[in-house]
Amino acid sequence: MDWAIFSFLAADALQNGTIYALLALSLVLVFAVTRVILVPLGEFLVYAPLTYVWFLPPEVSGLNLRGQIPGTAWLAAAMLAGWAFLERKSLRRAGLLALGSLGVLGLAWWGAQGVPLWLGWFLAVLVVLPIGPASYRLFFEPAKNASVLTYLIIAVGLHFAFMGLGLVFFGPEQFRLPAVWSGQTQVGLVPINNQAFLVYGFAFLSALGLYLFFSRSIYGKALRACAVNRYGARLSGISPSQAGYVSFSIATLIACVSGMLLAPLISPAYFQGFLLGLKGFVAGILGGLVSYPLAALGALLVGAMESWAAFQASAYKDAIVFALLLPILFWRSLRSQELGEEE
């Protein structure tokens, strides 16, 4: 392997690893606060850019979708309406949620009428975003105090449902999206897509933002408190279910924006979320789903493994990455025995 190839692989590894890191951070956040392993996070990641395709002018997307409201908007609106129904005892909250449900449809309708690219970009994120916290309210909150396994089963079910809906909403094909920042920049031997720099920038800002949120803001500290000691948090007046909404919302926001930034580089389709999410999960497992720095490190490792494998044995690229899970899980199970039962 010469230097040029190595540089190419390294650039590739960094780009993918950064996305896995963002997903891993989100998964760790959600798991720490709610004990839910958010398998459908990858679906949220592809939903946002696929929704954006519906808001693109025909000359950009090459499709004639003018005036069609994307299926994700109906889904988000339906889930918000379901949420409003569950909150029917509090008229104010139910009213706000019903309003939100109509609002999502309104935004999607607006986007479908033809809007500037940048506006469509934000509308796509806004339309998909409610699906995250609404999933928490509709599917996880009712199973309060369930075991990690029960939550995992629900999460896997949701993943299949959202992936299937993705196929219904967007069809099987991959879509080409315009880059927010087009062109390439030569770094050493490697030409890097400018769009990739946006991914790095967003990853850096997210990590910094989360760090400041968790270390400075009382709300961030409350989220940590819920993760550290749920019972203690409740006694201090911190509601674990509110913490659940916040963590699901942050995770969904990170996934949506990651997806929007990554999309021009990968030409998204409905089925791509799962593999991305799973690799984020492998990275998160490296940190035991509790440590943010280890998860980020794991993500870069997964990215590196993947591009190395793609070069050496491209047909087995994904298999090799998932084979990484076995030694990691083995090592972690040894370690958790050393530490004894924590809780």
């Binding site: 408190a225 000691n229 019972y231 203690g232 409740r234 006694l235 201090s236 007046g237 509601s239």
Partner: protein
């Protein structure tokens, strides 16, 4: 005015009825104690009041009937418990633990939180020394002080304490009770659950004695302290316990 009125409270876990038809009241400014042997149902009573376990009966707090209640909801309105096992945020700094005790007040954008932090530090100078340390690295006594301090940060209208002396060395227990006395003098209303009957009854204005889930006696703290039945069954037990470690 009664801050808390509990009527006919019963708590059961499957076939076990841990509390049967318990009624008690706490007036503003009072220090009340609920004493009884291990397994009598003291913790279950507090958990039933807070809505942590299924309970029948009625709970009135500040004149309102609390039908569906959760501890997070009650902490926000000043009914705060210091639990048996302290339940601190072990991997977070001491000061963060204290600030989180005031979380509902931050949400309401209340003023005076910083001043209360200073006040808690003045009550527990040890916490000030260790404010940057992780809560889980402190000694048992310090952790108990932190648990009380965290509850005080909520500006409780009624402070529930579940055996704050449990597992602590006698000197530390005295220190804890000295602080409780100081809180009482400052007008904090207290409902203290204890096995350490002697110290609890000395502190309290009134006391209730719980046995096998039922109230068997109630009276002024000083009366119970010299009641022959209490002396025989509780103040005796303490010496036996101390001997057994």
């Amino acid at each position: 005015m009664n801050i808390l009125e509990v009527e006919n409270l019963s708590v059961r876990y499957g076939a076990v009825e841990a509390v049967r038809g318990l009624s008690l009241r706490v007036a503003e400014g009072e220090a009340i104690t609920l004493i009884g042997p291990n397994g009598a149902g003291k913790s279950s009573t507090l958990k039933g009041i807070l809505g942590l376990v299924q309970a029948s009966g009625t709970v009135h707090y500040l004149g309102e009937t609390l039908s569906r209640r959760t501890p997070e909801m009650l902490a926000a309105v000043g009914l705060v418990m210091v639990p048996e096992k302290r339940e601190l945020f072990a991997s977070m700094a001491v000061e963060d633990n204290l600030l989180l005790g005031a979380f509902p007040r931050f949400q309401r954008r209340e003023r005076g939180i910083r001043e209360d932090l200073e006040w808690v530090y003045s009550l527990f100078p040890r916490l000030l020394e260790r404010r940057r340390q992780l809560a889980g690295t402190m000694s048992g006594g310090e952790q108990q002080m932190l648990a009380i301090g965290r509850a005080l940060m909520a500006r409780p209208k009624l402070l529930l304490l579940d055996e704050p002396s449990l597992g602590l060395a006698p000197l530390i227990v005295q220190e804890i009770f000295r602080i409780l006395g100081e809180l009482k003098a400052r007008g904090v209303t207290i409902l203290l659950v204890e096995q350490n009957a002697r110290m609890a009854l000395k502190l309290a204005d009134r006391g209730y004695v719980l046995e096998a889930g039922e109230l068997v006696m109630e009276g002024r703290g000083s009366e119970l302290l010299y009641d022959p039945r209490v002396i025989e069954s509780y103040l005796g037990i303490r010496t036996r316990e101390a001997a057994g470690g």
